[in-house]
Amino acid sequence: MLNQENLEKAKALFTRYPEKKAALLPILWIAQGQEGWISQEMMKFIGDLVGVPYAHVLGVVTFYTMYNDKKLGKHHIEVCTNVACLLRGSDKILSAVEKACGTKLGSTSADGKFTISEVECMGACGGAPMLAIGEEYHEHLTPEKTEQLLANLK
């Protein structure tokens, strides 16, 4: 369920569009901001709020890669491996991330601290190789810088 403050925010979004359904993506963002992921209960709640069936919400959540229908680790490490990053050594960055997090690509570390994902081009090719943690981009990486970065995460 959205908390009171977020519910107000969500309802305010309806004024932006001629149809309520259009607020679905932004409301899913609010929900994910609140919980870190989007549960089945949350999808049902949002479906009722927006006036669409649960199946529609589920379809949208699973279509877009950035909505998480499962809980992730505390820090989501997203490593770009697309062409510009590949050309500048994303392989080494990925290995450094796996080593520092103590877990493999596509999984969450045993202590629940890190989840590592491979992502498609993040629009930071000039800063390749790069990774993102939440909304923060970290560009022009080296394996050493990467290890340092992750070691500093609490």
Binding site: E19, Y64, Y67, V83, A84, L86, G126
Partner: protein, 421 residues
């Protein structure tokens, strides 16, 4: 050249600084013009879209029905997900008001009362920057009801994507704004007839909109003389891969590709003085060029077309002589397969086959006949799909195999040698 889209002025993203340098003067000028005069000016300027297809912007605007009696919409495309493309982000960060002023002018010209700036989900930080700039412009009365005391009103909102390259395709983008999965729509009807919520809609790229105030301030005549005549104006070029100074550079169209890669004020050459093996000139979907064939090739639509590629999003990716091109193409194929929305069979299945076959090449498991089969599969996707993602997946494969066939054949031969040993 003087810089217009990304001028080097401190704190230009703040509305006061932007105003002090002539910001929102174009808007005031436009509010005293007739909407059709504005469209004519944009037409005469020769501005062509910066989102990849180079479509003439004024012409696109003229497709919209006239009048303000029925709802019409503008969608501004900041999905920026084509690998090798990272220019719109610079506008969000360093010159959001230029884009916003362009959007208000576009709305006025087409009689539109609501615009949505669609920004890729990963750019959360930059969406906040744009939202801040929008609220500054609202506070000054440039956006909202009765703009600067006139009869004209319009609202502008950001809309955050959520990780889907396909939402950069204009009709998928509209579905995504409407709260749907990002499936492209069959055309016709075209957006100017039936777009957002069934109403006439125009879709333009972020950089395209940012060129509009320049045209109004300085005149179409002035604008049309920047760069090459058939594709004029300043253009943001992103340079990545094997260059010393990767980054976004603003240049007039028509600058030579080699100068962009090698000159010290741009890419600064290939690290270690290595040779250029290959260049993708306009984002990952544009056809690859051989390093030895770059003489006389310039960054504009016609020159790149003549060279057998296209300007796309002007995202140049440079690959030095040691690059494993098979691996690069395999990575590109993985991307298009991953991003295919799955609606049409040639794209859904074809991109998967391409990815699998290229995986075999990469791991020395391909057969000689697979080289031609790659091209066959790509040819069967091209032109047979609902949207241009199918073409975008086919072009890299066709061009890599055509222009670097030896790399793919070698990958087969090496396997033969390994298995014989």
């Amino acid at each position: 050249m003087e810089k217009y889209i990304l001028p080097e002025i401190k704190n230009y993203h703040e509305i006061e600084v932007y105003e002090r340098h002539g910001g929102y003067v174009a808007l005031k000028k436009v509010l005293n013009m007739k909407p059709d005069e504005v469209i004519d000016e944009v037409k005469k300027s020769g501005l062509r879209g910066r989102g990849g297809a180079c479509f003439p912007t004024g012409l696109k605007w003229s497709f919209m029905p006239k009048g303000n009696d029925k709802p019409k919409y503008l969608a501004v495309n900041g999905d920026e997900s084509e690998p090798g493309t990272f220019k719109d982000r610079q506008i969000f960060e360093f010159n959001p008001h230029l884009m916003i002023e362009g959007i208000i002018i576009g709305c006025y010209a087409m009689g539109i009362n609501a615009a949505y700036i669609y920004i890729r989900g990963e750019y959360g930080k930059w969406i906040k920057m744009v939202d801040k700039a929008l609220s500054e412009a609202y506070a000054k009365g440039y956006i909202g009801k009765n703009i600067l005391g006139t009869e004209f009103s319009t609202n502008i909102y950001t809309h955050q994507g959520a990780g889907a390259y396909i939402c950069g395709e204009e009709s998928a983008l509209m579905n995504s704004v409407e709260g749907e999965r990002g499936y492209p729509r069959v055309k016709p009807p075209f957006p100017a007839q039936k777009g957002l919520w069934g109403a006439p809609t125009t879709i333009n790229n972020v950089e395209t909109m940012s060129n509009v105030p320049l045209i109004i301030n300085n005149g179409a005549e002035w604008y049309s003389k920047i760069g090459v005549a058939k594709h004029p104006g300043p253009i943001l070029v992103g340079i990545s891969g094997h260059v010393n100074n990767p980054g976004v550079y603003e240049v007039p169209t028509g600058v030579s590709l080699l100068s962009l890669i090698n000159d010290s004020q741009y890419g600064g050459g290939v690290p270690g003085g290595k040779k250029i093996k290959a260049v993708i000139p306009g984002g990952s979907s544009t056809m690859v060029l051989r390093g030895e064939n770059l003489d006389g090739v310039n960054m504009d639509a016609d020159s790149l077309k003549a060279a057998g590629s296209s300007v796309g999003t002007a995202g140049i990716m440079v690959m030095d002589e040691d690059t494993d091109l098979v691996r690069v193409l395999a990575r590109i194929a993985h991307f298009y397969h991953h991003e295919s929305c799955g609606q049409c069979t040639p794209c859904r299945e074809g991109t998967g086959w391409l990815e699998k076959m290229l995986h075999r090449f990469e791991h020395y498991e391909a057969r000689q006949e697979d080289v031609d089969m790659l091209v066959n599969v790509a040819n069967q996707i091209e032109g047979n799909t609902i949207c241009a993602l199918g073409d975008a997946a086919a072009w890299p494969v066709q061009s890599f195999v055509k222009r670097f066939r030896e790399e793919f054949e070698k990958r087969v031969k090496e396997k033969v040698e390994i298995s014989a040993a």
